[in-house]
């Protein structure tokens, strides 16, 4: 990664122009997670907690090797463990590193009402700016991957930053750095897509995974985290990875047609009432006018 000042190409709830749009030659960065070589060692989980210096929080036994049921505000990176019995009776123990997908079209940013609380840098990283966050949690609604998490003390939202701090210094994210098997790669989106494609082909050609493929869902414009899956037709098996994620329809409706409809209606209403007054005036000018005509 080139070292570059992080500039913003998308910004939440902002009424002006976007400061960083088309101001850099930066290319989109991408994490590649090859689930077929993940051994569930959780080094990435530890690296994430350590690099981001997050406080520990208690966990409980959950009949699984998975550290906790889902990510937390202080636990951004979680390997999901799923036991799956295939039709031929053989078992698969699927492990998927779950974290923010850094969507090209981020639902969180779309849903966010706070100016500058969520930004997308020109390298594609979607980052929460807690200083601007108002803790409304709309990003939770906007996210198709169940990522943003609320801190009840700071009243703000948190999630994986793709180690924007490291990436801007030319380093790979902490999780990538820690991965012992090379299941995690980091680079430009183009390179990662190519690498993922090669691996998927290898799985199809040499390892009998006819349906192996790359998960880079177009519904959110593609993601900054892409997966190689043994069976790309069933991403749900990997801890409920949605097969065709998109920004929820409700959020889209809310943020687009409803918003414009509402704005027009409100402005229209105001104008209408004003015009009504201009045309008809008050029902009675003076209190005295109220007296019935002809008097009693």
């Amino acid at each position: 990664m080139s070292q570059a000042t992080l500039r913003i190409q998308k910004i939440s709830a902002h009424s002006g122009t976007v400061p960083g749009e088309d101001t850099q030659r930066q290319y989109q960065v991408c994490k590649l997670v090859d689930t077929t070589t993940c051994i569930g060692c959780k080094a990435c989980e530890v690296a994430c907690v350590e690099w981001n210096d997050m406080p520990f929080s208690p966990t409980a036994f959950g009949n699984t090797y998975q550290t906790m049921p889902e990510t937390r505000w202080n636990y951004w990176n979680l390997i999901l463990f799923n036991e799956h019995e295939r039709e031929d009776g053989t078992l698969q123990w699927l492990m998927r590193k779950h974290q923010c997908m850094h969507c090209a079209e981020p639902g969180c940013l779309e849903a966010c009402p706070a100016d500058g609380a969520i930004v997308q840098y020109t390298n594609g990283i979607v980052d929460f700016q807690q200083a601007n966050c108002i803790g409304c949690g709309y990003c939770i609604t906007g996210c198709p991957f169940n990522i943003p998490k609320f801190n009840n003390v700071t009243k703000r939202m948190y999630k994986c930053s793709l180690c924007a701090d490291r990436v801007s210094e030319g380093l790979e994210p902490a999780c990538i750095k820690s991965c012992p098997t090379g299941c995690l790669h980091f680079g430009s989106k183009d390179d990662m897509t190519e690498l993922a494609g090669i691996r998927a082909k290898q799985l199809r050609d040499h390892y009998g995974y006819d349906k192996a493929g790359v998960y880079d869902p177009p519904g959110v414009g593609g993601t900054g985290v892409i997966y190689v899956l043994h069976d790309a037709t069933q991403p749900e098996l990997y801890g409920g990875l949605p097969s065709n994620p998109s920004i929820p329809l409700a959020v889209k409706f809310w943020k687009h047609p409803l918003k414009w409809l509402g704005n027009i209606a409100m402005v229209g209403g105001l104008i209408g009432l004003f015009v009504h007054y201009l045309k008809f005036g008050p029902k009675a000018r003076e209190e005295a006018d109220l007296a019935p005509k002809g008097g009693a």
Binding site: T37, I39, E45, V49, E50, T59, Y65, E83, Q92, M95
Partner: protein, 837 residues
């Protein structure tokens, strides 16, 4: 490891059995993934559980705990039947063609080899020998009667492998009963599945292919059995049959369970070794000469072959070791201070130490870098033993179960008052606070720097040991004693005697020369006082010293080579010659002469490690040739230069093994199967003994112990240590027991409910993890359940101190039974019953 971690990337086929590298060696496991990614290698995992290693495997079979020899024996049968072996390798590089003693008998139905003595439960191994002529009395292990006949100097040999008394034919006969049907009944792996596994693994030798390579990776799942050594031997034999030893991407590879276990073993971690695997002197040796005579082998080979017999240099290594110990006090006149060495008169292995403490023989214990109560089998026995000790010294960074054995669960206040053991707890330095070298599984010595200063009040291990030594020496100086010399004359020439620098220690271990010397072949010279460049320079005349001959070359005049960090790998084979330093002599793959055929040409030209260079008339290579550099292939010198035969041992002759020259299937000491289906008249290993204290109880199906239990580690924790670390506790907060869905359904159990697992020795309480990853098995037609318990929890730790877990160490359950060769306890398979708690 015969090979190394990085070398796994050269494999085409990988068998992981008795190990779980993805979980326990995740960093090393990257090379398996590399092989898969870059060579389309296949990974076969055979394990009692579907592990995280299995999750990335290409073939998985669930095996009954402790039946690996049945599986591998059947594999030997399969590969012989289907000619999936490397004939040229087999004939020339192994003892397959050697003729075996006429009196030698296979176990067959009886289950014992020739020479078994029922009274002493041991073998007279005289018949476990080759036919031939010449030879001398063979080496004996401590406690074994000396005076066995030696290996014949000239061995009778049949290169056609047709002689019915040759090793190959005996091997074939021995495993002929290990049919897929029998394997299914014993191991629980369905016949079809088993044959698929055999076919896949041996497919690299299909149609006479000798290019491809398979590796075998194992760990404590093989060693921790009453037949652990033989588990590994079976694998070694398979690798010899297929011609995979000595080759890049091949070998038999032990994954060590700690960062420096290899180093501990190299530096005499076992009671019957001195550093560098020199056998300890025994009382019967009588003199230095007698000792040398017993432990220095002479060649034993077919007449027209050559054998390097590298152990013939034993006296050079032994004298240099004595010079390292005693310096000027070790002279030819006083037999190199032979009298100063303790003579080992019996078995002082781990389990025996605790047994002796229990019986009042051992009065005190130093426990450094280990948690004695937890790591041995039968924790209750260990706790009871400590109650009887006078004192125990624990050097640790946390208060642990050993230093707080007196408050283990179940000990009442009243009982506590009666415990008279004095506990000394010495605050030590943690691993990141110390420098020094780690010797990894790949035999690499890698230097590490201290990352943090030692906290105030704590001391380094060597500082503590040094101060104890200096005090002891002072006492001897002041008060004399029965035999003060071994202490008073010990070399202790460190800059800071009370806290020696480990670099100085490594320098001492490497050794130096006391006189100018010249290598006659290369004319290279070294001066008196210089570091010895390699063990080839060691002499038996007292002019060299070396604390461990195999580490000779680690710290030379060129400096501390273990600090080297050049990642360059010009050959691309993962040799990395200038990264750290690998014993012996920076060689990365052992026996690498065997990577070439008889004529000295690599089996696979794309993976050239060493080769015979006709031009220079020398062996050359990208790795350091493990061979006599100028031995022409015509000389037919065997590649296994550490064996007197010069070849790999498919048949382990004479004293090599206590329990048989061929691995034979026996049931674990606690097994749900009443009969040994393969050798019906001998259920358990005939030479395995049970211990006799009241704490040593053994369970059987009759007593209701019907469930097989195995133990293991998790990626998220490190032994009994990380339960003190919040990050690890967050990852896996509390103990659990993995059980199959079938068993849970039968018990009416939900995941997360507490269950009590009891063996004849104790009970363990934890939550149940109900999983698809362990399945009920059909063993000899009977439904059998296996369960698994991670070992990491005890009665001290974050959750334990907060009262959040049941505080029971898992080794409360495991039995005191040991392998007769390596004395490793049988942690991996024993019987329990399971109920709701």
């Amino acid at each position: 490891m015969t090979n190394g971690w990085v070398d796994i990337k050269n494999a085409d086929m990988i068998l992981v059995m008795g190990g779980n590298p993805a979980e326990n060696h995740p960093c090393g496991f990257k090379w398996v993934i590399e092989a898969k990614r870059n060579r389309n290698a296949k990974l076969i995992v055979v394990d009692p559980r579907f592990t995280r290693t299995a999750s990335v495997s290409d073939f998985f079979a669930q095996i009954r705990v402790g039946t690996d020899i049945a599986f591998l024996g059947g594999l030997i049968r399969y590969l012989i039947e289907n000619q999936r072996y490397n004939k040229e390798y087999l004939v020339n590089f192994t003892n397959a063609g050697f003729i075996v003693d006429k009196e030698f008998k296979l176990p067959e139905d009886e289950g014992v080899f020739s020479g078994f003595d029922e009274k002493s439960l041991s073998y007279n191994r005289a018949t476990w020998n080759y036919e031939g002529s010449g030879g001398k009395p063979a080496a004996a292990k401590p406690g074994q009667p000396a005076g066995l006949p030696g290996l014949p100097e000239r061995v009778d040999f049949d290169p056609t492998l047709q002689n019915p008394r040759c090793v190959f034919q005996l091997l074939k006969a021995h495993y002929s009963r290990y049919t897929p049907e029998m394997v299914e009944r014993v191991t629980g792996i369905p016949r079809e599945k088993y044959l698929q596994a055999c076919d896949l693994f041996t497919s690299i030798r299909k149609d006479g292919d000798t290019k491809k390579v398979a590796t075998v990776i194992y760990a404590l799942g093989w060693t921790q059995h009453s037949f652990g050594t033989q588990n590994i031997r079976t694998a070694a034999m398979i690798q010899l049959l297929m011609g995979n030893v000595g080759r890049a991407g091949g070998g038999v590879n032990a994954l060590r369970g700690h960062s420096n276990i290899q180093g501990a073993t190299d530096m005499a971690g076992i009671f019957d070794n001195l550093p560098g695997y020199l056998k300890v002197p025994i009382p019967a040796d009588g003199s230095f000469e007698g000792w040398m005579k017993r432990i220095t082998p002479t060649p034993s080979k077919p007449g027209d072959w050559a054998s390097f017999n590298y152990w013939s240099n034993t006296p050079k290594f032994a004298v240099s070791l004595m010079k390292a110990f005693y310096g000027d006090a070790a002279t030819k006149q006083n037999e190199w201070a032979y009298d100063y060495l303790p003579k080992v008169d019996r078995n002082y292995s781990w389990v025996n130490i605790w047994d002796n403490m229990y019986n009042g023989v051992v009065k005190g214990l130093f426990a450094f870098g280990m948690n004695g109560v937890m790591i041995g089998p039968d924790s209750n026995k260990n706790i009871d033993a400590l109650k009887k000790a006078d004192w125990v010294v624990v050097g640790e960074i946390y208060p642990d179960e050993t230093s707080e054995f007196w408050r283990s669960p179940g000990i009442t206040q009243e009982e506590m008052k009666k415990i008279q053991t004095t506990v000394y707890r010495l605050p030590c330095a943690g691993f990141a606070e110390k420098d020094g070298s780690f010797t990894n599984s790949a035999r690499w010595l890698q230097w590490k720097n201290a990352a943090l200063p030692i906290p105030p009040g704590c001391r380094s291990d060597q500082g503590i040991v040094a101060q104890i030594f200096l005090k002891t020496r002072e006492l001897y100086q002041k008060e004399g004693g029965k035999f003060p010399d071994p202490i008073l004359k010990l070399t202790w020439a460190y800059t800071n005697p009370s806290d020696p620098s480990l670099a100085e220690v490594l320098k001492e271990i490497n050794g130096k020369t006391f006189a100018d010397a010249e290598d006659p072949a290369t004319k290279q010279q070294i001066k008196a006082g210089q570091q010895v460049p390699s063990f080839a320079w060691l002499k038996d005349d007292g002019t060299t010293s070396s604390g461990n001959w195999i580490y000779c070359g680690a710290y030379t005049e060129a400096g501390n080579l273990t600090m080297r960090r050049d990642p360059a790998d010009p050959s691309g084979l993962g040799v990395h010659p200038n990264w750290a330093w690998s014993w012996p002599v920076n060689r990365r793959v052992l026996y690498n002469r065997a990577s070439c055929n008889v004529d000295g040409k690599p089996w696979d030209a794309t993976r050239k490690q060493v080769w015979w260079n006709e031009g220079t008339q020398k062996w050359a290579g990208v790795d350091v040739p493990d061979f006599k550099a100028d031995s022409h292939p015509k000389d037919h010198m065997g590649p296994f230069i550490m064996n007197p035969e010069g070849v790999g041992r498919i048949f382990g002759p004479l004293g090599a093994f206590a329990d048989g020259p061929f691995p034979t299937f026996y049931e674990p000491v606690e097994s749900p199967v009443e009969n040994n289906l393969l050798h019906p008249k001998q259920r358990h290993s005939p030479v395995v003994r049970r211990y006799k204290t009241p704490d040593d109880k053994y369970g059987s199906v009759k007593d209701g112990y019907t469930v097989i239990c195995t133990t293991y580690r998790l990626t998220e924790h490190y032994h009994y240590w990380t339960k003190n670390n919040p990050m690890n506790v967050q990852l896996v907060p509390e103990p659990f027991v993995e059980i199959s869905e079938e068993m849970a359904a039968e018990m009416g159990l939900q995941g997360g409910e507490r269950i009590k697992v009891s063996s004849a020795r104790g009970a363990y309480i934890a939550k149940a993890m109900v999983t698809k990853r362990i399945k009920a098995m059909t063993i000899d037609g009977k439904k059998t359940y296996q369960i698994g318990i991670p070992i990491h929890w005890g009665y001290r730790g974050i959750a334990e101190d907060e009262g959040k877990t049941a505080k029971t160490p898992v080794n409360l359950l495991s039995p005191t039974v040991v392998d007769p060769n390596a004395y490793t306890p049988e942690f991996k398979g024993f019987l329990v019953k399971v109920e709701k708690a």
